[in-house]
C-alpha cells in the first residue's frame, strides 16, 4: 500500500512538472489568449446642435453583436444560438441564412471572432445580454442618429461605419467631432465572461458643435419648399437664408431631401446624399446677376438716374443671336431697366461698361470663386476672364448667361448690398464651446466691395422691384422687401431651350437694417417658370413666417435713412 501511494505521488509530481515546467510557456500563452483582450474604446462623437441648443445629430449607445465560438462548437449549437438571438431581436436586426452560413464558414476556418450584427441599439443589446447566450459577445459601437431626419440632411452629412464623417458638417468638422479612441484590457474566465476591465487609455470624446442654423427657420423653409416642389414639379429646388450683418446661415434646405439616418446603398443615393445643391450646383443665374451689372454701371459708367433707354423693340441682336425682353417695355429710365428687368435695356447699359470693370465687379462680388463657407465640396462656379470672351460675351454676362454660379454666391451678392457694400463671410458653425477661439475671428474690418452709396442705390432699386416691378409676388404687408427676380433658359443639347428654365429670387427684408436675406432657386419648374411667379411667392411666404418667428414686427418705412451701429440679431 505504501508503495502504491508512493507510485501515485510520483506520477502526480511528474505530471505537475510536465504541466507547470515543461509546458509552462505554451499553457500560459493559451490562457492569455483566452483570458486577455485589448479592445478599443470608441470615443463618443460630438453632438451637433442648432443655434438654440436643439439636437440635430447625436451618438447613441449601440453595440456590435459578434460570435466567438467555444471549444468543440458544432453547427447545431451555432444554429441554436442564432435562433435564440433571433427570438430576442426585432426583424430589422436578424441576419439572413446567407449571413449565417458565412459566419459558420469563418468558424470552420478557425476564425475566433465574427460580427453578427452591427450597431444594435442599446435596448435590444440589454435583452440579448440578459439571455446570456454562450459565445455571443459585444463591442461598443455608438450609432449616430439624426432625430430631425431630412430637416438638415445635406448640411449635416452622415458618417461611415468606421465613424468618419462623409459630406456636410460631419466631414468638414470630422476632427473636432471625432475625438480619440481609448484602449481597455479585458480579462475573461474560461466561459469568456468578462470579470475585470482595466482602462489602458481613456477615450477623448468629440467636441460639441453649435450651428448658426435655427431648427424652426429650417423647418419653415423646408415645409414651403416641399409645397413648391409638389406644385411645380421641378428637378430640384433650394432655399438658403442668412442673417446679413453676421453672415450666419439660418437655414439651408434642398429638395429632393436626404435622411442621413440612411446609409446610401447605391451610387444614385450616394450622389443624392452628398449633393448639397446650395453650395455644389452651378447654373446660369439670369437676371439676378443684374445686381452686379448695375453695381458696375454705377461705379464705372457714371450713368445718371434720369437717363433713358429705348427698349421698345423688345429685342436686340448680337450677331446671329438675339436677346429678348419678356415683353415690350417701351422707353425706360435707368432704374426702370432694373425694376422691370429689361434684358435689352441692361445690354444697352452694359455697352457703356468696359469689359475689365464688368469682370472686376463680378469677381469682387464673389463670382468664379468659393464663398469659403465651412462646408465641403463647395463649387467655384465659372467666370471666364475677358481674354476668353467673344465679341458679345459682355452682353450675355450682363443678363446672367455665360457665367455659372451657385445659389450661395447669389445670396452673398445680395448680402453685399444689404450690408452697405461690406463682404461678410458666410458660415454655418456658430460655436465650439469646448474649443473657444478655434473658429476664425469674426471681426471688423470686413472687406469693402461696394461703396455704401452704390449699395443704397441698389437697395432702392430692389425695393421698387417688389413694389412695382417683376418681384411684386414677394411683397410683404408691413415690411419693405428688397429683391430681384431671375429667369434663365437652360442650355440643353447644345442650345438654349424655350421650355426649360431656372426660376429664382433673391432678396432681404426689412430693406433697411435687414434681418434676413434669402435666395430661392427652382430648377425646371413645370407650368409657370418666371422667377417672379415661382420663386418670389416662396420667398414671401417663408419670410412672413420667419419674421413672425423672430418677432420682427411690421413697421412703417422710415422717413429718412438712419445709420445705426446696432444691428438686430436673431436670438431672443
Amino acid at each position: 500500500m505504501g508503495f502504491g501511494f508512493l507510485l501515485w505521488f510520483a506520477l502526480l509530481t511528474l505530471r505537475m512538472v510536465q504541466l507547470q515546467v515543461l509546458e509552462h510557456a505554451a499553457h500560459k500563452q493559451r490562457v492569455l489568449q483566452q483570458n486577455q483582450d485589448i479592445n478599443e474604446i470608441p470615443p463618443r462623437r460630438g453632438t451637433i446642435y442648432d443655434r438654440q441648443g436643439r439636437i440635430l445629430a447625436a451618438s447613441t449607445p449601440a453595440q456590435d453583436i459578434a460570435f466567438r465560438p467555444e471549444k468543440n462548437e458544432t453547427r447545431n449549437s451555432f444554429r441554436s444560438k442564432i435562433r435564440q438571438l433571433h427570438s430576442i431581436l426585432p426583424p430589422e436586426y436578424r441576419i439572413s441564412r446567407e449571413k449565417e452560413q458565412q459566419i459558420w464558414q469563418r468558424v470552420q476556418r478557425g476564425r475566433p471572432f465574427s460580427f453578427i450584427q452591427r450597431q444594435v441599439p442599446w435596448k435590444w443589446v440589454q435583452r440579448v445580454k440578459a439571455a446570456d447566450i454562450p459565445g455571443i459577445v459585444f463591442e461598443d459601437a455608438p450609432k449616430r442618429v439624426y432625430p430631425q431626419h431630412t430637416l438638415a440632411g445635406h448640411v449635416l452629412g452622415y458618417i461611415q461605419l468606421n465613424g468618419t464623417g462623409v459630406a456636410g458638417i460631419e466631414q468638414s468638422y470630422n476632427d473636432v467631432l471625432g475625438g480619440q479612441a481609448g484602449a481597455r484590457l479585458d480579462l475573461r474566465d474560461a466561459h469568456l465572461r468578462k470579470f475585470q476591465s482595466d482602462i489602458l487609455k481613456r477615450p477623448v470624446p468629440g467636441k460639441a458643435l453649435y450651428l448658426t442654423m435655427d431648427e424652426i427657420i429650417q423647418y419653415i423653409a423646408l415645409r414651403r419648399l416641399r409645397e413648391a416642389y409638389a406644385e411645380t414639379g421641378p428637378l430640384w429646388a433650394t432655399v438658403v437664408i442668412s442673417h446679413p450683418p453676421t453672415g450666419e446661415i439660418l437655414a439651408m434646405v434642398n429638395v429632393p431631401e436626404w435622411d442621413p439616418n440612411r446609409t446610401p446603398s447605391t451610387k444614385m443615393e450616394q450622389l443624392l446624399a452628398d449633393w448639397n445643391r446650395a453650395v455644389r450646383h452651378t447654373y446660369e443665374p439670369g437676371s439676378t446677376i443684374k445686381i452686379a451689372t448695375f453695381a458696375a454701371a454705377l461705379r464705372y459708367a457714371g450713368i445718371e438716374m434720369d437717363r433713358i433707354f429705348d427698349c421698345s423693340d423688345g429685342v436686340r441682336h448680337f450677331g446671329r443671336q438675339a436677346i429678348h425682353d419678356h415683353k415690350k417695355l417701351g422707353v425706360l429710365s435707368f432704374p426702370e431697366v432694373f425694376i422691370h428687368s429689361s434684358n435689352v435695356g441692361t445690354t444697352l447699359i452694359a455697352d457703356e461698361i468696359e469689359a475689365e470693370p464688368l469682370y472686376a465687379t463680378l469677381r469682387a462680388m464673389g463670382f468664379g470663386t468659393k464663398t469659403g463657407i465651412d462646408l465641403p465640396a463647395e463649387e467655384n462656379g465659372i467666370l471666364r476672364a475677358p481674354e476668353d470672351w467673344t465679341k458679345y460675351s459682355y452682353a450675355w454676362l450682363s443678363i446672367g448667361y455665360e457665367i455659372s454660379v451657385t445659389p450661395l454666391q447669389i445670396l452673398q451678392m445680395a448680402n453685399l448690398v444689404a450690408n452697405d457694400g461690406l463682404l461678410i463671410p458666410l458660415r454655418v458653425v456658430k460655436d465650439i464651446p469646448q474649443a473657444p477661439g478655434s473658429l476664425p475671428e469674426q471681426s471688423t474690418p470686413y472687406k469693402r466691395v461696394l461703396q455704401a452709396s452704390t449699395a443704397e442705390i441698389l437697395t432702392r432699386f430692389m425695393i421698387e422691384v417688389t413694389r412695382r416691378g417683376t418681384g411684386m409676388n414677394a411683397r410683404l404687408d408691413g415690411y419693405e422687401v428688397a429683391g430681384k427676380t431671375g429667369t434663365a433658359r437652360k442650355f440643353i443639347h447644345g442650345s438654349y431651350s424655350l421650355n426649360n428654365h431656372v426660376a429664382s429670387f433673391v432678396g432681404f427684408v426689412p430693406a433697411h437694417d435687414p434681418v434676413i436675406s434669402m435666395v430661392v432657386v427652382v430648377d425646371d419648374p413645370r407650368g409657370a417658370f418666371y422667377g417672379g411667379d415661382v420663386a418670389a411667392p416662396v420667398f414671401r411666404d417663408i419670410a412672413a413666417q420667419v419674421l413672425r418667428h423672430l418677432r420682427i414686427s411690421p413697421r412703417p418705412r422710415p422717413q429718412k435713412a438712419l445709420l445705426t451701429a446696432d444691428s438686430r440679431g436673431v436670438d431672443r
Binding site: P61, L151, F195, Y219, S553
Partner: protein, 103 residues
C-alpha cells in the same frame, strides 16, 4: 520512552506546519476567488452605470425627435386640430412712443 516522546513532538510540529501551510494556501485561494467575485460585481455595477448613462443619451435623442418641428406640427394638426394662421389673425400691439417695441 524518550525516543517515542521526541518522535511524537516532531510529528506534532510537522502536522502543525502542514496545517499552517494548508491554511495559508487556502487563504490565498479564497483571496483569489474573492477578487474574481468582486471583479464580477464591479464589472456588473460599471455596466449598470454605463447602461444608465447611455439610456440618458438615447432618451435625449428620442426627445429631440419627438420635439422636432415636423412631429409637433403633425400632433398639433391631427390630434389638436390646429390650423395655419391666416392674415389678420395676428394683431401686433400698437407702437408706444418712438419706434416699435419688440418682446
Amino acid at each position: 520512552m524518550k525516543r517515542k516522546k521526541n518522535r511524537g513532538k516532531g510529528l506534532a510540529i510537522s502536522l502543525t506546519a502542514a496545517v499552517v501551510v494548508v491554511l495559508i494556501l487556502l487563504f490565498y485561494i479564497w483571496h483569489q476567488v474573492e477578487s474574481i467575485r468582486l471583479g464580477y460585481d464591479v464589472n456588473r455595477l460599471e455596466a449598470q452605470l454605463q447602461a444608465l448613462q447611455e439610456e440618458i443619451a438615447a432618451l435625449e435623442a428620442e426627445k429631440a425627435e419627438l420635439l422636432s418641428p415636423e412631429n409637433v406640427e403633425m400632433i398639433a394638426r391631427k390630434k389638436l386640430g390646429f390650423t395655419q394662421i391666416r392674415d389678420g389673425q395676428i394683431v401686433e400691439p400698437a407702437p408706444q412712443g418712438r419706434g416699435t417695441k419688440r418682446p
